[in-house]
């Protein structure tokens, strides 16, 4: 219950962003820059999941969160750019790194959530049993 509530604000943020992207931000991305946008999307997604996980673990630190978001995005874009210059698909490195981290974070969050549910269930059955 508390978890669902705590996800409300981030979900609202994503909804607001999608609305902004469709209705307010003008123009489209040129085809050549789609790669960059894709990598930026992955970086943002990774940061969001990382922040969510840290929040669930009560280990959230805003400085770590925002610095990670900015450096990850910039580094990913830089890798993509260098890869484009060199003719090597370096952006794949960013895609794989972020992809692996996203799956890791989701797995860890799953464990945390399942652990909490199990605890609550045990506490609840104890209460009803006595």
């Amino acid at each position: 219950m508390r978890l669902a509530l705590s996800l409300l604000l981030p979900a609202l943020g994503i909804a607001l962003g999608i609305w902004l992207g469709f209705a307010v931000v003008p123009g489209q991305v040129p085809n050549a820059d789609v790669k960059y946008l894709g990598v930026a999307l992955l970086a943002a997604f990774d940061s969001a999941l990382g922040g969510l996980r840290a929040g669930l673990e009560d280990a959230y630190d805003p400085l770590v969160f925002f610095s990670g978001f900015v450096t990850n995005t910039v580094l990913a874009a830089l890798l993509t750019y260098i890869g484009d210059r060199l003719g090597v698909e370096l952006y794949l490195a960013a895609v794989i790194a972020f992809g692996v981290r996203i799956f890791n974070n989701i797995a860890i969050m799953r464990r945390i959530i399942i652990g909490r549910m199990r605890q609550r269930h045990l506490a609840g059955s104890d209460g009803s049993g006595s």
Binding site: S6, L9, P10, A11, L12, G13, I14, A15, L16, G17, I18, W19, L20, G21, F22, V25, Q28, V29, N31, V34, L37, G38, A40, L41, A44, F45, S47, A48, G51, L52, A54, G55, D58, Y60, P62, F65, F66, F69
Partner: protein, 256 residues
């Protein structure tokens, strides 16, 4: 005030403060995430069906579909034009002033090429060489080209033609003749050889203008030597169809 907020109180309040903080920053990143998702989605939607990446078969099917649509629309034009004609005739009946106006309208429609024309004239038939070209350079000599048609039409106008059609496409003031790959477009209509140019006008004068030494057919000498056929025949009764549609004007305005 600030010190109160930063003093860690025992138990829940500090934890709640922390929780709200990560939710807000997550929401901020969520906004960026959402904008990126939306922009990527829009970009992909625009790329949705890139024609250049489709197979030849798909393209051919698409072309066929559009051709069918074109044919249907053209029938609609003809139907509506007939209807318009009927209305004009009905309106002209009874009143002499509108009768005069109708005559004038008729004149302008003839001038614009919106009326099929009958009369004597010339038929120029051009056909590709029966032997297929072996290279791009060879194609220059074994095929009939858009510039051949343009030169012949130009010469026909110059020698007194009053109405011209190529393979049933009325040639009017705004008709382009251009080459697109293996076909020639006239009025945006794809034409295939043989090309039959029908011109109503003084047959004798037009024929000699076309066939004079150094004239347009003479200039096709290398092509004719490679097998391209050019034939000029006069005829007593020819029919030139109406132009399919009037152009729409987006930039030019009448000055008076």
């Amino acid at each position: 005030m600030a010190s109160i907020a930063s003093v860690p109180k025992p138990g829940r309040p500090a934890a709640a403060h922390l929780r709200i903080s990560w939710q807000i920053s997550l929401a901020l990143v969520g906004v960026v995430l959402g904008i990126t998702i939306a922009m990527l989605f829009r970009t992909q939607a625009r790329q949705g069906f890139p024609l250049a990446q489709q197979s030849a078969g798909t393209l051919a099917a698409l072309l066929k579909q559009q051709d069918d649509v074109n044919t249907r629309l053209r029938t609609t034009i003809e139907e509506q034009r007939a209807e318009l004609d009927r209305y004009e005739r009905q309106a002209a009946q009874g009143r002499s002033l509108s009768h005069v106006a109708a005559g004038e309208l008729r004149h302008f429609k003839v001038a614009a090429g919106l009326v099929p024309m009958l009369g004597p004239g010339l038929v120029v038939t051009l056909n590709d060489s029966p032997k297929p070209p072996t290279s791009l350079a060879d194609a220059q000599y074994k095929l009939v080209h858009d510039y051949n048609l343009r030169e012949i039409v130009n010469e026909l106008w110059a020698s007194g033609a009053e109405a011209i059609a190529i393979n049933g496409q009325r040639y009017v003031a705004y008709t382009p003749i251009r080459c697109v790959g293996p076909v020639i477009l006239v009025n945006q209509e794809r034409l295939a050889p043989p090309y039959r140019i029908v011109a109503i006008g003084p047959a004798q004068a037009m024929a000699s203008a076309l066939q004079m030494p150094g004239g347009v057919i003479d200039a096709m000498g290398p092509q004719i030597a490679s097998g391209v056929r050019a034939q000029v025949v006069s005829a007593k009764q020819l029919r030139v169809p109406a132009s399919p549609a009037l152009p729409s004007y987006h930039f030019a305005k009448a000055a008076s």
